[in-house]
Symmetry: C2
Subunit: 114 residues, 2 copies
DNA sequence: CGGGATCCGAAAGGATACTG
DNA sequence: CAGTATCCTTTCGGATCCCG
C-alpha cells in the first residue's frame, strides 16, 4: 500500500517527541511533578528506583526543554523547587490517555515480553 | 509537598509504557502502519533514516508485544504483511494527542536542546 | 539538602555485507 | 523482497565518592 506523502514527516515528529520525553525516567519524573513532587527528595521518594545522578540529569534536561521550571528559594538551607511549566502541564495532559492505556493493557504487553 | 501514596505506582506504569513504546523508531513504525504501511519496504520508505536491521528488530518487538500482526502471504515471491492489531490501534489512538502536541511545540523544545 | 565528578560495564544501535 | 550476521562505536545509566 502507498503511504501519504506527509507520513515520513509525521514519523519524524512522533520520533522526536518520544526521543525527548520517552527517555528513561523522564515520564515518571513528569508524573511525579504532576502529583505534587516539588523538591529533589520528593522526586527521589516518588520515582521508584531512580538514582541521584539520573534524577539530577533528567531534571536538568526537563528544565532545558522548558517542561519544568527550577526555582531557588534563598532560605537556610537553600531550597530548590521544580514545577511544571505551562508547556509541561500541557504535555502531561496529552500523556494522560497513554497512562490510562498502560493501566489497562500493560499486563497484556508485558506478558509478551520475555 | 507530599505526594499521594499511589504516585510511585503511577510512575512505574508510565515508565513501563514509555520503556516499551518509547524506544527509538517504535513510535514512528506504529505511525507508519497507521498511515498504510504494510510491507517491509513500505516501512523502510516511510520511516526516515531507519536501517534494515533496526526495522527488523522493532517489527519483531512490536509483533511480540501484540501491537502488530505479521501475516505471511504464500505468493511467489512470498509477501509479508504487518498490520496493527486491535491493541495497536488503541495505542495509536491514545498516541494521537501526543503527536499533535509535538506538531505544535516541537520547535520550542528542540530550540532548547543544544 | 541538592546535587557534581568520575569510572565503568552493559546495552543500544549504526554500517556493512550477505542470503534465500 | 525480507530479512540475518557480524562488527564496532556510541550512549546510557548504575555505583561510588565528594562537595557547599
Amino acid at each position: 500500500m502507498k503511504t501519504p506523502d506527509n507520513a515520513p514527516t509525521e514519523c519524524r515528529q512522533v520520533q522526536s517527541v518520544l526521543d525527548t520525553v520517552g527517555r528513561r525516567w523522564s515520564g515518571a519524573i513528569l508524573v511525579a511533578a504532576s502529583r505534587g513532587a516539588r523538591r529533589f527528595v520528593d522526586f527521589r521518594r516518588t520515582v521508584p528506583g531512580i538514582s541521584d545522578r539520573m534524577l539530577s540529569v533528567r531534571l536538568k534536561e526537563l528544565e532545558t526543554l522548558g517542561l519544568l521550571r527550577r526555582e531557588v528559594i534563598p532560605s537556610t538551607p537553600v531550597q530548590i523547587l521544580y514545577e511544571p511549566t505551562a508547556l509541561g502541564r500541557e504535555l502531561l495532559h496529552v500523556l494522560q490517555p497513554l497512562f490510562r492505556w498502560g493501566e489497562k493493557h500493560l499486563d497484556e504487553v508485558s506478558a509478551a515480553t520475555p
